[in-house]
Symmetry: C2
Subunit: 323 residues, 2 copies
């Protein structure tokens, strides 16, 4: 009998292992686990069928870092620099020249038009497969200016654990990003275990062409959809067609996604990653040009959203650093 | 020993049951099964990992019937008739009056503009949830003019079996339709077991609004994306982000989807449902205004696509009819 009990305890052990080991034992972690328990317990009033367990997450600043500028902009600048080194004749404007010199200050001074020019030069008018390969090659070579890490290593270990935990509990996990849908697809499956069909983002038009007998999708340069702010719930209902029960973001660009996701019937969870950790990551919120968080911070409590304090709630930030 | 053998045979039985009982034992069925076997057998050179087992199907004429006109157009006309009965003042044009009178001939005579007007009146400027509820209510009430069946019973039993068979073999099954993405989502999960996030179709813009405190997606009336012909591979790479290994259609509107899907590396399968059965369904191909099939019929052999002869390859057409 003693042996049987021991054997049963071993079998049961995985179920009681901590699913979020890189989260400190704070209220944030307790709220997440309590929510997941309630929607997955068939005896709970808050039970949700697996098909409706949709969780959506912003990418920049929520699943990976976004300082000093969005990594996708660094990709664009690096690509223009590479193209300009091979053929300086393509550097026909101040914006392209600033990018080729990796002079972000001069580039930002050219305004929105300059940025669009640099994005277009690096992202458009090429086969989609080529673009995916270019991004993958860049991720292999490029290193972050202050941490020296690969960009796809600057993902948040606690969020990786959350994604895995949710999937283990029958959720489908999605990315809903203001960044480029095809840019993120180049690494989301390897980095987060999120397949391309579960990535939603901003996009340009594309077109189908048979080139020398090869059916090809060509990534175009005209704006098709902006998946930010009110565009996030629109993108969600276009791609997924049902309201998430959990949404996570970090900036006011995610406000409408959280508002929409937490407004449905039944149990709902909104999460906001608050960047409070200047030592292990970056500290920023109300000011700046990236990841600005005002309304989300002011209204989180009243709306019942969990404000995740990176410094206090996370025991570890990046997978490959000591803590 | 005899008893053990008997028990083993029982256990093994499901594996050898015919996965496609409503398909006659013809070359078409053999080609499908041989393809599925080859991509799911880990020892096969053609083996494909489950994540890459993407199968896409057209809807009208491929998964359900499309005669005498697309069922979605019948929905639009029925809705305008209902709205016009409640408030005749809304019938401000020849197209809307023709729809309210269910006079398809007069409606089609108003041309593309008239059709767009009727579609807009029945499909736009309402909460998305309202639209889904309206379509569901219509499906409950409406009956097909010649068969007297519910529209969502005019789905093809052999294709239902194929969808289930593919899913059982680790495929993700998608709809890629020229019809409306949100119209199809109103019934695809119940009718085909295909969840909303695996439906791709044509769409209008939509917008996010908080109405009396309720976060709402409003279906708009401006064309956003046409998921037909060359738009199908574009829609596939936008929503799924990877090339299907199996595609099925029935008209030349599906040509590019089949061309794109069967052009990748490794084993690929293209299927075309050929409407050859005037008795049990409808017979049509090269002429008419719906489901025109010329290029697909002419090139299927050379491209290695399976032309499914509905009359000879299918033992049964609709789930609820005798054969």
């Amino acid at each position: 009998m003693k042996q049987l009990f021991f054997a049963l305890a071993l079998v049961a052990a995985p179920a009681i292992a901590d699913p979020l080991p890189s989260w400190n034992d704070t209220a944030a972690k307790a709220r997440i686990i309590s929510f997941v328990d309630s929607v997955t317990d068939p005896k709970s009033d808050a039970y949700v069928t697996p098909a409706a367990r949709i969780a959506t997450f912003d990418n920049d600043g929520t699943l990976w870092a976004e300082q000093p500028v969005y990594f996708q902009l660094i990709y664009a600048v690096d690509q223009v620099a590479k193209m300009g080194a091979a053929d300086p004749a393509i550097l026909t404007s101040d914006a392209l020249k600033a990018a080729a010199a990796k002079d972000y200050k001069a580039l930002l001074a050219t305004g929105k038009e300059g940025l669009v020019e640099v994005l277009r030069a690096s992202h458009a008018d090429m086969p989609l497969e080529q673009f995916h390969a270019d991004v993958a090659a860049w991720l292999d070579e490029a290193r972050h200016p202050t941490t020296g890490m690969r960009y796809d290593e600057m993902i948040y270990q606690p969020m990786l654990e959350l994604l895995t935990y949710l999937r283990d509990q029958g959720f489908k996990t999605y990315i809903v990003s203001g960044g480029g849908i095809q840019f993120i697809r180049a690494f989301a499956e390897d980095a987060y275990g999120i397949p391309p069909e579960q990535v939603i983002g901003s996009s340009t038009t594309s077109r189908y062409e048979v080139i020398d007998g090869v059916p090809t999708i060509i990534k175009g340069g005209e704006l098709f959809f902006v998946d930010d702010k009110a565009g996030k719930p629109v993108g969600i209902m276009h791609h997924i067609g049902r309201r998430p029960i959990l949404a996570g973001g970090n900036s006011d660009g995610d406000f409408e996604m959280l508002e929409f996701s937490t407004a449905g019937d039944g149990a709902r969870l909104g999460l906001i990653v608050h960047h409070t950790d200047a030592e292990r990551e970056f500290a920023y919120d109300r000011e700046g040009h990236i990841g600005v968080l005002n309304r989300g911070q002011d209204e989180a409590d009243a709306r019942g959203w969990v404000l995740i304090d990176m410094k206090n709630d996370w025991a570890k930030v990046f997978p490959k650093t000591a803590e």
